[in-house]
């Protein structure tokens, strides 16, 4: 065994360049990660860039190909670590990618600490240290293992050579980009800027010079980089489909990845690998462009051309004409099927003859639906409302909330597309009522207060509703009607019983004002 674990309180080590830090971990100034291939190196950087900043390693980072005395090639990453804490993080990630971790300062490297030696390793065979290393010597349990550096790699070059990964649809749906950069060919920039300006999208334009030259003239090629803020989704889709325009997502000020793709290495952790005057565009086709942006961006509002019709001609004073109100056009508001109308169902109009179905379906609905859905009963239909979406009821006319408290059938819209305030004013919509525009039926409105949770409607059954209706219909000030007497069959001897002791007619025995002292009682014997 040429290695021995460092013991607690060990004062000196045989291997040069090893010192103990404040935790007692013996390690060198550098960490050397030895990987079988370069692919593992990339994997290591992918993991490390998500946990820490590669920019902190950039000063001492070396990516080299080494060869053993028998000719086997391996990839090695060497960098300086400030403490054992940073070394532990890098070592664990390196080991996850099948890397072997060594520490040292100059030529001699010993394995970094592990479970077997928590404080690190030292070389026990002092003779091994006397070998003259050509490049570096890795000390292992089997003895000294020299390595020779045959090639050096550059991290920026490696970053440029890596191919970006296409995002899945789920990842794209969660992507939120406050700013986007359009790479626009010079001839399209004015049209693009006018389009963005017309849609009130804030953007700045800068001219970038490509590192490559034109094929024919040998001149430096230029592209326009338009940095947009708050670009709507449909505009992004339109730009991506436009030839000559490519949409990039800025991960850093000068590192751009094409929209819908992602670089395997987190570029924001290695932004200082590229000079700030250069902008790198990682394209979805696997090609990366490096452009230089010498000038600052110009706001597109300053670039939009203003055309004056009467250029060079003296402008005449405006001629007053009679104005006519727009209401004179007589445009009627219509409910029409629109291809891009909102597809979400937020209300259902169920015909009243489906009430039996609806009550049966209630037994199948989950508790969350009963709790979150609101419903009310009108003389024509059952109305179910849930702003978060109505699901699970397979019948009824689906409605969507076109404007607050204004419902139209799904797929329909009101034409012309006037805004809500104007609609409210024009149709005299009440804020306390829900208005429905069913297809091929007259519009109606209900009191918003009448809608109550479906669960409450269930536990307050029709019986309670009938009682309420009865109370409402019965006028408390109305006088009760006259009683109507209906004779029933009294039975054969019913008029014969009960008063057998009253033999004498009462009219003969009882004078007014002379109540009998002793009431005659029937003979129960």
């Amino acid at each position: 065994m040429s290695l021995e674990p460092i013991s607690l309180g060990q004062g000196r080590t045989n291997c040069p360049g090893l010192v103990a830090d404040e935790r007692g971990v013996v390690m060198g100034r550098r960490l050397a990660l030895l990987f079988p291939t370069v692919a593992q190196v990339v994997g290591f950087f992918r993991s490390y860039s998500r946990e820490a900043s590669i920019d902190e390693l950039a000063g001492s980072l070396e990516i080299v190909d080494v060869t053993s005395p028998v000719g086997a090639q391996e990839a090695m990453v060497r960098f300086e670590v400030p403490s054992s804490y940073a070394a532990d993080k890098a070592a664990s990630m390196g080991r996850q990618h099948r890397g072997r971790v060594f520490t040292g300062t100059e030529a001699h490297y010993v394995p970094y600490r592990d479970k077997r030696a928590p404080l690190g390793y030292d070389v026990s065979n002092v003779d091994a240290l006397r070998q003259h290393a050509t490049s570096l010597i890795l000390h292992t349990d089997a003895g000294a293992d020299p390595r020779s550096i045959i090639r050096t790699h550059s991290l920026p070059r490696m970053l440029l050579q890596l191919r970006v990964r296409a995002l899945t649809s789920a990842e794209q749906a969660t992507e939120q980009h406050p700013a986007l950069v359009l790479r626009v060919e010079p001839g399209l920039s004015s049209s693009i800027c006018r389009y963005l300006w017309a849609r009130q999208i804030r953007a700045t334009v800068s001219t970038a010079v490509l590192a490559s030259t034109t094929r024919f003239g040998g001149r430096a090629r230029e592209v326009e980089l338009v940095r947009c803020e708050g670009m709507p989704h449909h505009a992004v889709s339109l730009m991506k489909k436009t030839p000559g325009v490519r949409v990039f997502v800025p991960t850093d000020a000068h590192l751009l990845v094409e929209h819908g793709y992602r670089h395997p290495i987190s570029l924001d952790s290695c932004a200082r690998c590229f000079p700030p005057e250069q902008t790198v565009l990682f394209g979805g086709d696997g090609k990366a462009e490096v452009v230089s942006t010498p000038n600052h961006g110009v706001d597109i509002r300053d670039l939009v051309e203003v055309e004056v019709e009467a250029r060079g001609v003296e402008l005449k004073p405006a001629k007053p004409v009679d104005s006519v109100g727009l209401d004179a056009l007589g445009v009627s508001l219509t409910l029409s099927r629109l291809p891009r109308a909102s597809p979400s169902t937020t209300a259902l109009l169920i015909p009243l003859d489906r009430l039996r179905w609806f009550t049966r379906l209630i037994y199948l609905l989950p508790a969350a639906v009963l709790r979150s859905y609101d419903a009310c009963l009108t003389d024509q239909s059952i109305i179910v409302v849930n702003r978060a979406g109505v699901h699970g009821i397979p019948f009824g006319l689906p409605m969507t909330e076109l404007h607050p408290q204004l419902f139209v059938p799904v797929g329909f819209g009101l034409l012309p597309r006037v805004d809500h305030e104007l609609l409210r004013e024009h149709l005299q919509l009440d804020a306390s009522r829900l208005t429905f525009f069913p297809d091929e039926q007259p519009a109606f409105s209900i009191d918003a207060a009448a809608i109550q949770p479906l669960s409450r409607a269930i536990v307050a059954p029709e019986r309670a509703r009938e009682r309420l209706v009865q109370v409402a219909m019965q006028d408390p000030l109305a006088e009760l009607g006259a009683p109507r007497v209906q004779h029933k069959k009294p039975g054969a001897f019913s008029l014969w019983r009960g008063t057998k002791n009253l033999d004498k007619p009462a009219s003969a025995t009882l004078e007014p004002g002379q109540a009998p002292k002793q009431l005659p009682r029937p003979d129960h014997t």
Partner: protein
């Protein structure tokens, strides 16, 4: 106990609750004394019956400000009596083995046991029950078909008789007969007499009903009298004494003004004349005369405040139309009013001070004073004035005279002749001989 509970449940569901609420109440098997023992304390036991009784409190507030007393044994006795009275109108009550008159007699005992009262709440409670007996009707159906006919008195028509109406040429004729009419005029003699006695006892037990429905035809066979048949503390009392309660006085005045006060006023004036003949205590005469005058003064006040109002129509008619068109009852009524106005000047009555009265009202009263001085009214008013002055002077000189029972006194012959003249002949519709 279970039989009593079943009896109470049957009585409540079949009769009492629909009777109080205005539905179809069944009257078949009478309760009898045994049934009365089962239901006498049942108004607060049966939930539906208790609700129906509570509902009557709200109904009572539709007419006046007096809340009826709690529906207790007294109300139960009235309900029991009404039930057995209605059962006694059953078409089968005339069968040879039936003893409907005995049930009426048993119910009569219970009604006559009710103590006489002048308590406003108690009077209202009894009126609430008895007035519904006045309102009750029976549906009689006369069914004729191609081969025969049948009559059903308060009974459901069998479905087989009305099947295929077009093929069998079925015709039905319905009539709704008031129960008071059936009770007083239909059936065999001995049963009818028992029913009439019971009906009179019901009216006597509810003097407020008598007073409010003074002109109801059901009272024709038992005319209203100033003195109630019962006594309170051995003292003859009148239902007019209950008008000391202002709420009851307002209730009666409003009802009569709404009905047209000359009709009940005429009946009251006739009762006053009859009271003179019967020698009722002067206090009752005074109250009757005051009530008649109060009606006229109120009508004058109404006319001054709302000219043309329906409540003052009899006053306008009297002032504007020819006096010869007055009926005998109206003539006596206005004679009572004229006598009261004349006696008020002698200090026998204290009319409201006219200083604050509206000018229109003053003019109306001046016209009234001239109108009652016409000879046709004066013929009655002068002897009436003398009689009233004599009785009321006696009351003023000796207040204890009112408490002492008085013997029937001879009245002025002119008044007696008037009283005999206005005694109305029995109405043909009320004559049992013509309706049986």
């Amino acid at each position: 106990v279970s039989r009593a509970a079943a009896e109470l449940a049957r009585f409540s569901a079949d009769f009492a609750v629909p009777f109080l609420r205005g539905g179809t109440c069944a009257a078949g098997k009478p309760l009898g004394y045994d049934g009365w023992l089962a239901v006498r304390h049942g108004l607060g036991v049966d939930a539906a019956l208790a609700d129906a009784c509570t509902e009557q409190v709200g109904q009572a507030f539709l007419w006046g400000d007096v809340a009826p007393a709690t529906f207790d044994v007294e109300a139960a006795a009235l309900l029991y009596a009404v039930h057995d009275l209605f059962c006694a109108t059953h078409p089968d009550s005339a069968r040879f083995y039936a003893n409907a008159q005995k049930f009426c007699a048993a119910a009569l005992v219970e009604v006559q046991r009710l103590p006489a009262t002048l308590d406003a709440h108690r009077l209202m409670q009894r009126h609430v029950v008895v007035r519904r007996a006045f309102m009750a009707t029976r549906r009689d159906v006369d069914v004729r078909w191609w081969t025969g006919s049948a009559q059903f008195f308060g009974e459901e028509v069998p479905g087989r008789l009305v099947k295929w109406p077009s093929l069998r040429n079925v015709r039905q004729q319905e009539s709704h007969v008031p129960m008071w009419q059936l009770a007083l005029m239909h059936g065999d003699e001995h049963v009818r007499m028992a029913r009439q006695t019971l009906w009179k006892a019901l009216l006597d037990a509810s003097p407020l009903t008598r007073l409010l429905w003074l002109t109801h035809p059901a009272q024709a066979t038992h005319p209203f009298s100033l003195a109630m048949p019962q006594t309170i503390d051995d003292k003859r009392v009148s239902v007019l004494d209950a008008l000391e309660d202002r709420r009851l006085a307002r209730l009666v005045t409003d009802a009569w003004l709404d009905e047209g006060f000359d009709a009940p006023g005429s009946a009251l004036a006739l009762a006053l004349l009859q009271g003179l003949r019967q020698g009722v205590p002067p206090r009752m005469l005074r109250r009757a005369a005051e009530l008649c005058t109060h009606l006229v003064l109120t009508a004058a006040l109404v006319e001054s405040a709302a000219p043309g109002d329906k409540a003052a129509a009899p006053l306008r008619d009297f002032l504007d139309k020819d006096g010869s068109k007055l009926t005998e009852g109206q003539r006596i009524f206005w004679a009572v009013v004229g006598s009261t106005l004349a006696l008020s000047q002698r200090g026998h009555f204290q009319l409201p001070a006219m200083d604050d009265a509206p000018s229109v009202m003053k003019q109306l009263l001046q016209r009234l004073a001239k109108k009652v001085a016409q000879p046709r009214i004066l013929v009655v008013a002068e002897p009436l004035l003398r009689e009233l002055a004599r009785r009321l002077t006696r009351l003023q000189s000796d207040p204890r005279a009112d408490a002492q029972p008085t013997e029937p006194a001879a009245i002025d012959p002119t008044l007696a002749a008037q009283l005999d003249a206005v005694a109305q002949p029995p109405d043909d519709s009320m004559n049992p001989a013509t309706t049986s």
